[in-house]
Symmetry: D2
Subunit: 168 residues, 4 copies
């Protein structure tokens, strides 16, 4: 039996309606794929993705920065209260098989970079384009639709797991 996948969605706490619509479709596709959706549990991209996944009947984890469970958006079904502010991003990244970045600014960039460091696949939807200081490309997987982003995230997660030898 294939293990349940854990897909993280990262992006800004305040975002345009267009970006929110994309994030909601990402969440819906994660939920329909039977994967668990994880996010920072707050507003904007996080809320839209949580909503999409919850409406699709999925489990929705929110790794909250603050001290109160009530800070979670209303679609989170499993709130985790870290009280660690930005350090919660590390927990979010580590808990995922793959991340999907929808837009995003510096916080999202720090999560993308952390995932790349830890060898966790990152799929980008309208997010940062990066080049290493030495000019080499950075292995962010590009997608042009939310549904393609989720497909690629799930495939990349499976490959990473197999490469890591812990497919269950």
């Amino acid at each position: 039996m294939p293990a349940v996948q854990h897909i993280g969605v990262i992006g800004e706490e305040t975002c345009s309606t267009r970006t929110a619509a994309l994030a909601r479709r990402v969440g819906a596709a994660v939920g329909h794929a039977g994967a668990v959706l994880l996010s920072g549990g707050r507003g904007g991209v996080m809320e839209a993705a949580s909503r999409g996944a919850a409406e699709a009947g999925g489990v929705v984890v929110g790794i909250l920065p603050g001290f109160r469970r009530q800070d979670a958006n209303r679609w989170v079904t499993v709130p985790i209260v870290t009280g660690m502010d930005q350090a919660r991003n590390v927990i979010l990244v580590r808990s995922c098989d793959a991340l999907i970045a929808v837009g995003g600014m510096y916080g999202t960039l720090s999560e993308i970079a952390l995932a790349l460091k830890l060898g966790i696949p990152v799929v980008g939807l309208g997010t940062w384009r990066l080049r290493q200081p030495q000019g080499r490309r950075v292995p962010i997987i590009r997608a042009s639709t939310p549904e393609a982003a989720v497909r690629r995230a799930i495939r990349a997660a499976r490959s990473a797991r197999q490469a890591g030898g812990w497919l269950s």
Copy 2:
């Protein structure tokens, strides 16, 4: 509609079969009450409680100290990978409406103390008995059976929420 309760179970990673049996009954009662069970996600008391809750059809969260999701016991349905060793205990405590300590040594004591500091109710089943340096009693709620422990934890959590003004 009453909010879902989040009940943490804390105790040692290695424990006697007697203690494990108690922890499993605690987990079962949490699951049957429709509450989410949280633990440190590893062996011993954590595994027995997770098993009880999972067998009762409940959601089982494991807040893991290490770097790999596979370190979770097999009953955990939502593994959170912190990579923060003991600091994960803070996240576990904060994420709960009430804690139930089953036996336990120093790690459990540090979690009990943290919960008391944060105003989160603690129910004890064969755990530490404490007296303040000034001789005052410490408000650990005693229970003599797993089922009573869970009933008291849920009641205390509800009261704490109402006192905190955030019953939803």
Copy 3:
């Protein structure tokens, strides 16, 4: 050449003048011994100990729970800004060769318990008296004066280091 010792002082953020006087003498003895003093960097016992050490010319580290260096008491010479609230206690404990608890309530108890779990010696000055659930005694080293507390902390730290095989 013996390595510099790192001694932590833990206790309440608000305390009686009598307790503050004890903590200041602890800090002074740490400073005069040439050891680095570490604390949570805030008021009460932390501030008094920091003051004692700073007045004795010592290095004074404050592991702060919040987001601003200015939250440190004025005697801290090396402020560390964690932004992690209670989880900073784990960092404080881990960074010390030995801890001295001066009075203290639940926060202090959680730090004592964590140190005991990690095998870091704890010296108590008017602090918690504990007995394991099974009735065995808990190895908190008692002292009746601040100066004796520091002597015992330094001796215990040296033994723990040698036992751990990493005396430098």
Copy 4:
């Protein structure tokens, strides 16, 4: 009296001798300026910067990812043992008035991004060049020599403090 500045140096744990030489000069300039140098406390850029600062008589803080103080490079005078792996980067960034990135890969990028998010000035010496997803430039201050990098970091830190209203 102006407050002591806290300058962080970030970069890879393994680096070329050329990069190490630059980092050592950065450390030396930080030490000569009377500022405290902070780093992740390990090898490569961190060690070279620590060495430069220590040789200049400065205070050298190492915010360590692991569990043992002995993991610090030999130039660290104040080791902080976090046991939190990558989450220690958040503590490092928060504890600095300004950061200087010397070269660097994904870990460095995550620290740069976090600093930008938190409004902490970043000076770059042969490090990442970034453009926001919307094409706007990212305010990394460029420097072409280690000495210029330190001058700019100190100046930027002073401005950021004044803007924040907490110059002491």
